[in-house]
């Protein structure tokens, strides 16, 4: 006998080639637990194109189609329409792409797929940089982070632009379901996917997925950092269902963002003032989110 809080069924096999402690891998494990066997994935160039292993290896028990970096949105649109023509409407079609593939190069294909309102899931696993090609900055890299293209150093060339908010861009498409999630809260993540599954139309879920290799943190801290991202309001968890916001977790006494930053080498260079600036931005963003929740819930 055993009491589990997430589904027992496993669709991700061991022996995959992700780095040790990879958050993106945990994200995939939960997504498939939530959606089950009747799922087809489309994955563009990203770490997850490498994690299943070199041909002829496979690490997943569901069909997976590799696609070009910029076209995940187009790919899932086509798969969905073809399945519908075949009468296979009960199959989940899932685009599973990195933040570079979503926030930057795949944004127009994603936007078009959402606007056409295909009945698909689009999962953005957000490790906040182009990891597969060696940690280059993306639109989703947060302010202050070191990457190989924002190297810091004496000239302080860390990233000086704020993180692009893709979930909000998706809300602006008026799609029925948008949510954020992260791997430290698997029950929340799985509940969100299951709620999304009940909705016909485009669904977008952004999963914050720590990356020990790119964030320069110890691999045993992946889940802890994911949890701290929520407890510090660095990455708030919320849902937007038909335009109505609902914040999933409201930390009673949010921790200072420093606790999240200090575990990661990518933020090591930051001064006290720079950390204070990040804290200020987080506080403002959090207030804005709560305001959106209040306003959208009012009739």
């Amino acid at each position: 006998m055993r009491k589990l809080t997430i589904p027992e069924e496993e669709y991700m096999l061991p022996g995959h080639t992700a780095c040790l402690g990879c958050g993106a891998t945990i994200a995939m494990r939960y997504v498939l637990k939530a959606l089950g066997k009747k799922t087809i994935l489309s994955i563009p160039a990203c770490c997850w194109a490498v994690i299943p292993g070199v041909y002829p290896h496979r690490a997943l028990d569901v069909p997976l189609l590799y696609t070009a970096f910029e076209v995940t949105g187009a790919s899932i649109s086509g798969i969905r329409e073809a399945l519908d023509v075949l009468g296979k409407e009960d199959v989940n079609v899932v685009g599973f792409a990195g933040d570079g593939g979503t926030a930057d190069i795949g944004l127009q294909a994603l936007s078009a797929a959402m606007e056409r309102r295909h009945n698909v899931f689009y999962i953005m696993y957000d490790n906040e940089a182009y990891m597969n090609t060696g940690i280059q900055r993306s639109g989703s890299t947060p302010w202050g982070a070191w990457t190989t293209t924002t190297p810091g150093g004496k000239k302080r060339m860390f990233k000086h632009e704020p993180k692009k908010n893709v979930a909000e861009i998706m809300v602006a498409h008026n799609i029925p379901y948008v949510a954020t999630a992260t791997i430290a809260y698997p029950e929340d993540l799985i509940a969100k996917l299951r709620r999304a599954k009940e909705i016909k139309g485009p669904k977008f879920i952004q999963i914050f997925s720590p990356c020990p290799t790119g964030w320069r943190h110890s691999p045993d801290k992946t889940v802890e950092i994911s949890r701290l991202a929520v407890q510090t309001n660095f990455f708030p968890l919320y849902e937007v269902i038909n335009g109505k916001y609902k914040v999933s977790i409201k930390p009673k006494n949010p921790k200072p963002v420093k606790e999240f930053l200090k575990l990661q080498g990518r933020f090591r260079h930051l001064t006290e003032e720079e950390v204070e600036y990040i804290q200020h931005e987080i506080d403002e963003n959090w207030k804005a989110l709560l305001k959106k929740e209040r306003c959208s819930q009012e009739e």
């Binding site: 589990l4 995959h16 992700a18 040790l20 494990r29 002829p56 290896h57 889940v223």
Partner: protein, 108 residues
């Protein structure tokens, strides 16, 4: 020239990744102290390598009799990469990370 089509027009990856024994990547070995393990399955929940399996309740000792009706857990060292997430998340501090070269020889 005749066009030679491949036997399989679409290459399909059929070999399960379980062929790939990633345990060889390990620097640290997580070792469960069953005298402390409260069978909460949190390690199983967070393992990125699905390298923690369930085992029959009687396979390992338990700190309390009341726990003996629950299944226990085992780490599959063929695949565990030694990330240490399980040790970091275990609420009972029942998992210790031991440098592979310091692990006693009897298990190998």
């Amino acid at each position: 020239m005749p066009i030679i089509l491949p036997e399989e027009p679409t290459p399909i990856a059929k070999v399960p990744s379980t062929e790939n024994k990633t345990g060889g990547w390990r620097t640290f070995r997580p070792i469960i102290d069953y005298e402390k393990c409260i069978r909460c399955y949190i390690c199983w929940k967070f393992c990125p390598d699905t390298a923690i399996d369930f085992a029959a309740p009687e396979k390992h000792p338990a700190p309390k009799d009341a726990l003996k009706r629950f299944d226990t857990v085992e780490i599959n060292y063929d695949y565990c990469k030694g990330c240490g997430i399980c040790a970091n998340e275990c609420p009972a501090n029942a998992i210790e990370l031991v440098l592979e070269q310091n692990v006693g020889g009897e298990e190998e």
